[in-house]
Symmetry: C2
Subunit: 461 residues, 2 copies
């Protein structure tokens, strides 16, 4: 019996996300992103298929490195235009019972007091089905438009701020209102017992928050904390505070190393590594048979936009890929970053020369995530082998053609995974934290630093 | 034939809003505020009754002036706890076609780039049924918790910031993306024509925003701009930039003066005063007959909490009302603010001595808004007389007992108003701006300062 994997759809509130040019496929529905009807249909599809949730990436800027302009990003809808994904969640939650929602929210240009209220609100409205993906914002466009800064803050500063941000927010969620503060006593006219609501008196380097949280406790109190940072400092922060970590390893050996390193680091910080779920990003193109899936994949590859892929890749790496000859092998190019690029992509194929055009073709489908193509058996074999060989907890499934690829996965792959016991057929607990860690675990576990605030609150009486 | 009034429900994402203690009434449903089901039922009720919309007040702090503590506010749920109202809108929009949504969002601790994306997202998801109530935040709790400031900024500074904030946001909404920028050309692989998306290059005193808006144009582009400021500077800002203004006059002569002053000021700024809707706040307690309504009103009055009313009133005025003897007439009290209070309440009843207890009783139902009590005829007569005697465009209807008072209004008063031609029986246009100003007026009118950005955008090609 295979281990049961956690499964999230990975998406973006815009016409297109990681893949380049595939929005031109006739079945692609990315242009429907402004419509609630579209997202409601999507939510119902995912819930029927027993997905644990949908996860929304987000970006508070836009890609403008390629040719020093946002023009190619706009042409290919390369993560621009984009609406705020958090507002999709209430409408999708209203038509589902178990589907959970992860949403990205940056610590760079927000304050903990406001963000804490946002996630408490969403945790209430979803009955505990919300997760927060903590990011620190790498976009210079965001720095300029949101904070009048030419550059983003230094990496270390961004992570220090993020760590304190999580700390303040967690204290608001866990430490301000006791569980039995809200009594709604209509006979005696007491809605809240004020003796059970506490000022948090937070004084830090970046934030000072003296007062009480505005929101009463919700099902999970603290949303499930997601992170994705791959740098040493990112891994450290995740090991300290994350409950689920997105991995984007290019192959299984790399993923195994990342999973193991995170687990070790978690133990160093006194946490049970089983309290951190790991989710590998993959893109799956599936059909009734391997042949049909391969044919579909070829259709997608034919649509890949070189400029669209390079607009994204330039944004992610901070390099302007327009300065490279598309057909010159990277090994023959002397420029900052090429050696790193080459090392990265040679894991996919060590024998390939890897020109910018090869990179565009590779990343044009699903960004840098592994692409799995096949019929039910092939895909099931492959994802199960990723689980078994790496110890990862599950997957964040990106798409190349919006809606259709995920619909195909639910139709062709999910039944096969369920037959093999590798995917759930029903839900037990109802909160996101329970989906990840088992029934009854709606709140932060005791080994999470945020749990200390909870105790303090009770003992302070 | 009476003039057709605009009608909004006035509410708050918390257990209780303006009224004190009435959440203890057995029929009150305020405690359901954390549930999507409740708000969805509410949305359907309002749409069936042909309400133009629902309007959400909000507060980014809490009342802590009374006895120098938030304790009495918590006890009576005096606008605390409170969740973020903006997240209710997508779920309520998904089950309605015409109902529109106004939501309060402060300019004090946010930046225009982020707020512009929030409202573009909501305008997309509601198909043009969104309005933004611009407030500048008077809460010291908000200043401390959100910005580590002991006091809010000076009134003039807050309004200067708000004016520039509106200016930047409007330029993002109107001036960045041309109407035909988004072409979704799958054959040629062009989603957006980059030549039709413009940097706004905004450089102001408070904000610098060089780049493009992240969102493509929505039905209204700019949300309908609501304001409520009653100070001279507030009226000036409203006359310059608002499309709908909340009035909270205590009687008809005062309201007429406010409406006339706003219209005159609008003309001074070169705007057609017909392009600004005015909405008076009222609280309506209705029933099948006058007698039943009066009996219900008495039930509510019996529930009014002195401390709950004073916790709110102290927050609104900035005075700690616990320092006054509850039963001593204001005229006999020598303290800052008492003369102003007395002048204000004597408009309600010139012969009354007005003790703090009288104020608590008066404001305990619907805050300082006029309370209209009666059967269908009485209420219809009264609201129509407010329209006729003041020139106001309609009403923002607050409640004392959550859900039930509005449900009573839809059941007892709406049919009577419709019979008299004073309230709509169906919708023509579908956007909020069309609800207020007529079919076809989905976009900002030409005399609004934001319209200039639109022209600039087209001419700049």
């Amino acid at each position: 019996m295979a281990q049961q994997m956690r499964v999230f759809a990975f998406d973006f509130n815009g016409p297109a996300h990681l893949s380049a040019g595939t929005w031109c496929h006739p079945t692609d529905r990315g242009h429907e992103y402004t419509s609630l009807k579209y997202w409601i249909e999507y939510a119902k599809l995912l819930e029927r298929a027993n997905f644990d949730g949908i996860f929304f990436a987000d970006n508070d800027g836009y890609h403008e490195n390629y040719r020093g302009s946002v023009a190619d990003s706009l042409k290919d809808a390369a993560q621009i235009p984009t609406n705020d994904p958090a507002y999709l969640i209430p409408a999708m939650a209203a038509v589902t019972q178990n589907l959970s929602f992860g949403v990205t929210s940056s610590t760079a240009y927000d304050v903990p007091y406001k963000l804490a209220r946002k996630f408490s609100t969403l945790d209430h409205l979803t009955d505990g089905r919300i997760g927060w993906n903590v990011v620190t914002s790498y976009s210079t466009a965001a720095a300029r438009n949101l904070a009048n800064q030419e550059q983003v803050a230094a990496h270390a500063d961004r992570y220090n701020r993020a760590e304190e941000f999580i700390d303040v927010a967690t204290q608001l969620w866990e430490g301000s209102w006791e569980d039995d503060a809200v009594i709604v006593d209509k006979d005696n006219g007491v809605y809240v017992d004020p003796s059970k609501v506490h000022d948090i008196n937070y004084e830090g380097t970046h934030f000072t928050v003296p007062g009480i949280h505005q929101c009463e406790p919700s099902a999970q109190r603290t949303p499930v904390i997601f992170q994705a940072g791959g740098s040493p400092r990112g891994v450290e922060l995740a090991a300290k505070t994350a409950e689920a970590v997105f991995m984007n390893a290019i192959d299984k050996p790399t993923l195994k190393k990342q999973v193991d390193a995170l687990r070790e680091k978690a133990i160093e910080f006194g946490r049970d590594p089983e309290h951190i779920a790991t989710l590998q990003m993959i893109t799956v193109i599936s059909a009734a048979t391997d042949e049909e899936a391969q044919a579909k994949y070829q259709e997608y590859l034919d649509l890949v936009s070189y400029d669209g892929a390079m607009a994204r890749y330039s944004g992610w790496t901070g390099l302007d890929m327009s300065t490279f000859d598309p057909d010159k092998p990277l090994k023959d190019v002397e420029a900052k970053g090429t050696a790193t690029m080459l090392t990265f992509f040679q894991k996919v194929d060590a024998d390939k020369e890897w020109t910018p055009r090869d990179i565009a073709e590779y990343t044009g489908i699903g960004g840098t995530s592994p692409v799995i193509v096949g019929g039910p058996q092939t895909v099931a074999d492959e994802v199960i082998s990723w689980m078994e060989e790496t110890g990862v907890s599950g997957f964040n499934i990106a798409n190349a053609v919006k809606f259709q690829d995920i619909k195909d996965f639910t139709e062709f792959v999910v039944p096969e995974l369920q037959k093999r016991g590798a995917m759930r057929t029903s839900f037990t607990g109802s909160t996101l934290r329970e989906h990840l860690f088992g029934e009854g675990v709606a709140r932060l576990p005791e080994d999470h630093p945020g749990a200390a605030y909870r105790k303090q609150s009770t003992e302070a009486r």
